[in-house]
């Protein structure tokens, strides 16, 4: 288990100490579906190595924002700068190969496949050998598979899901499925990990576990994390900075304590008499 802590696994660990640079910038982005404006003129950045939370009441445009970040939606107005380069329009799988992985609000796993296979599927973008040699499972293809399997086993160990390695995920409780989904995202060794409500529907203990894992992923792998979450306690504890959306607009941005004290945020959450 200590193999996973070697320095080569965490290219960004040192950079955390330095002045953090932007991993991703969103500038004046607007997105609408027909006449419905989902996101209006939003700008913020995600710095390397941080945990960034996106919060807001229902329908604030959080998930749309996430979809913009990972390239699933392309905004009508505004630019996305990813690792210093302005991003052109691209397909989601292209986004994935750029180093962005995500989990979903509703678990999206292959229910009939085992935990191991599901996480292994996260490695598919990194498989280099061609279809035929993989089919024959011969020579370099086999070595490659073994190397990938090793990485997957490290993730299984990291997430402490050894006991369900061979269990079809459809049979697992929800909390564990969420963990498997996180495992699959990690298998891509992403630079940016997007988590869409990682704690939704979990009990207190599962939340505590998941928080631990998120912090550990950030610390051990140096992965930058952007998460959407409704549980304010979790958000305030986990994240370095929080951006708050309401009706598709940004109403606050900053460290948790600051955001918590902001009148605009309090009004958005508690409602205000007009």
């Amino acid at each position: 288990m200590n193999a996973m802590m070697t320095s080569e696994d965490m290219p960004q660990a040192e950079s955390r100490a330095m002045e953090r640079e932007d991993l991703l910038r969103v500038d004046n982005v607007s997105l609408s579906f027909g006449g419905v404006k989902a996101i209006t003129d939003i700008s913020f950045d995600i710095k390397k190595g941080e945990i960034r939370a996106i919060i807001g009441p229902n329908g604030a445009g959080k998930t749309s924002m996430l979809n913009v970040i990972n390239g699933f939606y392309h905004p009508q107005v505004g630019t996305i700068t990813w690792q210093g380069q302005v991003r052109r329009k691209m397909k989601p799988y292209e986004a994935a190969s750029q180093g962005i992985a995500r989990t979903f609000q509703n678990v999206a796993l292959f229910k009939g496949m085992t935990t191991l296979d599901n996480i292994m599927s996260g490695r598919s973008l990194k498989m280099r050998k061609n279809f035929f040699s993989q089919m024959l499972w011969y020579g370099p293809a086999r070595d490659e598979e073994i190397a990938h399997r090793k990485k997957v086993e490290e993730i299984i160990d990291f997430l402490e899901i050894q006991a369900i390695r061979k269990t079809p995920v459809g049979r697992l409780p929800y909390g564990l499925q969420k963990r498997v989904e996180l495992g699959r995202a990690l298998a891509m060794e992403p630079d940016l990990l997007l988590l869409d409500e990682p704690m939704a529907g979990m009990n207190l203990e599962e939340k505590a576990d998941m928080s631990r894992f998120i912090l550990d992923v950030n610390q051990e792998f140096g992965t930058t994390i952007a998460l959407i979450e409704h549980d304010m306690g979790v958000v305030m504890d986990l994240s370095d900075r929080v951006v708050v959306l309401d009706y598709g607009k940004k109403i606050a941005d900053g460290p948790p304590e600051e955001v918590q004290a902001s009148q605009a945020v309090i009004d958005a959450y508690l409602g205000v008499s007009h």
């Binding site: 086993e153 299984i156 050894q162």
Partner: protein, 660 residues
């Protein structure tokens, strides 16, 4: 006694010495395996020696000194076992602690033991130890195995396991004589030195630190190895808490003395799969493990197809009839023998394989009484499952069931070199080479437990049956006497009754009285479903409990227990002569049970004093009013008229004597 103790004199008398011996004799044999990253990683005895040596030298560099205590906290991992021997090589004493105990309890133990070093599994344990700064002022250095999450901690007194080993290797590189100096350091160690301190969980009062010497452990382990013919080819699974004497003896003492391989599971949740892969040859499990294995088999059989189920039922019938006899070497008809063979091929073999017990040579269960049905199930499959009776203070072994002499209700004959005697009050005492040195910093407790001649009070009452086997009946302090002098063991009677599914809780009275009377609590689930099946209508627990048909049913159970008691000479005097079914369920909210669902006898005696009076004054019914606390905290009262029934006693032949 002398003959077997001699076994112990061959080879080293401390674990560091035995380690060097094993590395020489079994150098290339696998000593330890641990499943990690989905693969069984293994270490040979020679590699284990190198690992322990590096760590030991590293610990010394960090300042560990002879006589100091080293806490070991975590689940079963090779590195934690190695840490114990590495500490012993310096003359320090390892103190394994229950990893799941709460910080407060752990703080008491570590503070009491005055540990200076701690080797722990992961961040969770590091956090726990760091939080007890003030309670354990002696603690200087913490060494952790799993680095995860600990990166940002202050590493002034915190060390990575591999880092400590690297420190040890550096010493070896600088000074070529270091290895010899290390070995010389413990060459002079004596068998009488303290090897380990284990804290007993202690149901009453604070935990006590049991000091065991190398002699205690090494001689007991060698005796046990000889008793069950264990050698370097055995495989065991180390999955029970390291702080528990059982694991210490099975996974360390016996493994070192026999040279066999210890397998550490991947995690606690994977034990079932890991056992299947390893197929241990020597296996220990508390009764609940065997229970849950059996339950999962039964549940899956319910879901199986018709043919399979019929095959299972048929061959299990054969197994029950012939299996145990074949195992005990008794005579069995040729037909049954043939059928048993067939059954082994179709049913027993695959079953054993599923449970990972195919290669099991010897299996033990202990700790609490195992249900006779469950015990018989495994024996019938041809598994050599046996019971033992032991204690931390005895280095485990007090009695063992020898092969072929298995009785469900006894715990076996004295283990090799163990002497037994029964005190006046029925308490079991023993004397053996495994008897502990004393309790750490608690001479008073040592004196009250261990006599000057070396006899140890077990605290359990029992007797030696006609066949020479020990039978445990109750905690000694609970055992009393009836006025006619016959032995009264409440727990023994209560357990016999509780064995019936209809009965949930029982409280027996009789100490200092002329006869035994019991309170019975029916089990609402079992009796309720019986009522449903038999068209018995009831509106409340109270009504069901007072139903005449329910009373008759319970009466039959009581009679059955009396019949059982009559057949045991020691117990025949304490048959149940009066019983009543309580009108309310005993409840922890009302203080009648402890939070762990144990009956609080004295409290109940006080609360239901009028009912106890009625048990003994001959009346056939009694009106009572009892206050109860509802779940939301309100207090109410229930009233009922409780019926009391007389029971006839049986004589030894099973005939009824006239009721008084």
């Amino acid at each position: 006694m002398a003959g077997l103790a001699n076994v112990a004199s061959s080879g080293g008398d401390t674990f560091p010495k035995i380690l060097l011996h094993n590395a020489k004799v079994f150098g290339d044999r696998t000593a330890v395996r641990e499943k990690d990253f989905g693969i069984w990683q293994s270490w040979t005895w020679a590699q284990v020696r190198d690992n322990i040596r590096d760590l030991s030298l590293g610990l010394k560099e960090l300042g560990l000194q002879q006589g100091q205590k080293v806490a070991i906290v975590g689940s079963n991992r090779p590195r934690l076992y190695w840490s114990m021997v590495a500490a012993q090589a310096i003359g320090a004493v390892p103190v394994p602690v229950y990893a799941d105990s709460v910080a407060e309890e752990m703080a008491y133990v570590l503070g009491h033991a005055e540990v200076t070093f701690a080797v722990v599994e992961d961040q969770e344990q590091v956090d726990k130890l760091l939080s007890m700064d003030s309670e354990v002022p002696t603690l200087k250095e913490i060494i952790y195995d799993e680095t995860r999450g600990l990166r940002d901690y202050d590493h002034k007194h915190l060390h990575d396991f591999e880092g400590v080993q690297a420190l040890g290797r550096k010493v070896l590189e600088k000074d070529p004589g270091a290895e010899k100096a290390w070995a010389d350091g413990f060459a002079g160690g004596k068998g009488s030195d303290i090897a380990v301190m284990l804290y007993t969980s202690g149901t009453t009062g604070r935990p006590k630190g049991v000091m065991l010497s190398f002699d205690n452990l090494v001689i007991s382990a060698r005796n046990a190895n000889a008793f069950d013919h264990l050698n370097e080819h055995e495989e065991v699974l180390a999955y029970l808490p390291m702080a528990w004497i059982g694991d210490h003896v099975f996974s360390l003492a016996q493994a070192f003395t026999a040279g066999y391989c210890v397998n550490c599971p991947e995690s606690l949740d994977t034990v079932d799969v890991d056992r299947l892969e390893i197929a241990p040859t020597y296996f220990f499990a508390p009764p609940r493990v065997f229970e849950s294995m059996l339950t999962s088999i039964m549940v899956r059989m319910e879901d199986a197809g018709k043919t399979k189920r019929r095959m299972f039922d048929y061959f299990m019938g054969v197994a029950r009839r012939a299996g145990e006899k074949i195992l005990n070497g008794e005579s069995v008809s040729a037909k049954d023998r043939l059928l048993y063979r067939l059954g082994d091929f179709f049913v027993y073999g695959p079953l054993k394989n599923r449970m990972g017990l195919t290669r099991m040579k010897v299996g033990y269960t202990a700790g609490e009484a195992i249900g006779p049905e469950i015990f018989r199930f495994y024996r019938a499959l041809g598994l050599n499952l046996k019971q033992l009776y032991g204690q931390t203070e005895a280095s485990v072994y007090i009695t063992l069931q020898p092969d072929g002499e298995i009785y469900g209700d006894t715990v076996g004959k004295p283990a090799p070199s163990v002497e037994l005697k029964i005190a006046e009050n029925g308490e079991v005492l023993y004397r053996s080479p495994g008897v502990f040195v004393g309790y750490y910093k608690n001479d008073e407790a040592t004196r009250s437990t261990k006599t000057e001649e070396g006899w140890v009070h077990t605290g359990d009452a029992g007797f030696i049956a006609d066949n020479g086997h020990l039978k445990i009946i109750d905690r000694a302090k609970d055992v009393g006497k009836l006025t006619d002098g016959s032995l009264f063991a409440p727990k023994y009677i209560e357990n016999k009754l509780k064995f019936f599914p209809n009965i949930k809780e029982v409280v027996a009275f009789g100490d200092g009285r002329d006869r035994v009377g019991v309170f019975i609590n029916i089990d609402l689930t079992a009796v309720g479903s019986w009522a449903e099946r038999n068209n018995v209508n009831y509106a409340s627990y109270q009504e069901l409990a007072a139903h005449p048909q329910v009373y008759s049913m319970i009466q039959e159970h009581v009679d059955q227990v009396n019949r059982d008691l009559a057949s045991e000479p020691m117990m025949a005097g304490a048959q149940i002569r009066r019983f009543l079914v309580l009108h309310k369920e005993l409840d922890a909210d009302d203080g009648e049970l402890t939070r762990t669902q144990k009956v609080r006898r004295n409290f109940i005696a006080e609360r239901y004093a009028p009912l106890i009076e009625a048990l003994y004054d001959g009346s056939t019914s009694k009106h009572v009013r009892t206050e109860v606390t509802f779940e939301d905290g309100r207090v109410g009262a229930i009233e009922a008229t409780v019926e009391i029934r007389d029971m006839p006693a049986h004589d030894a032949s099973g005939l009824q004597e006239a009721a008084e």
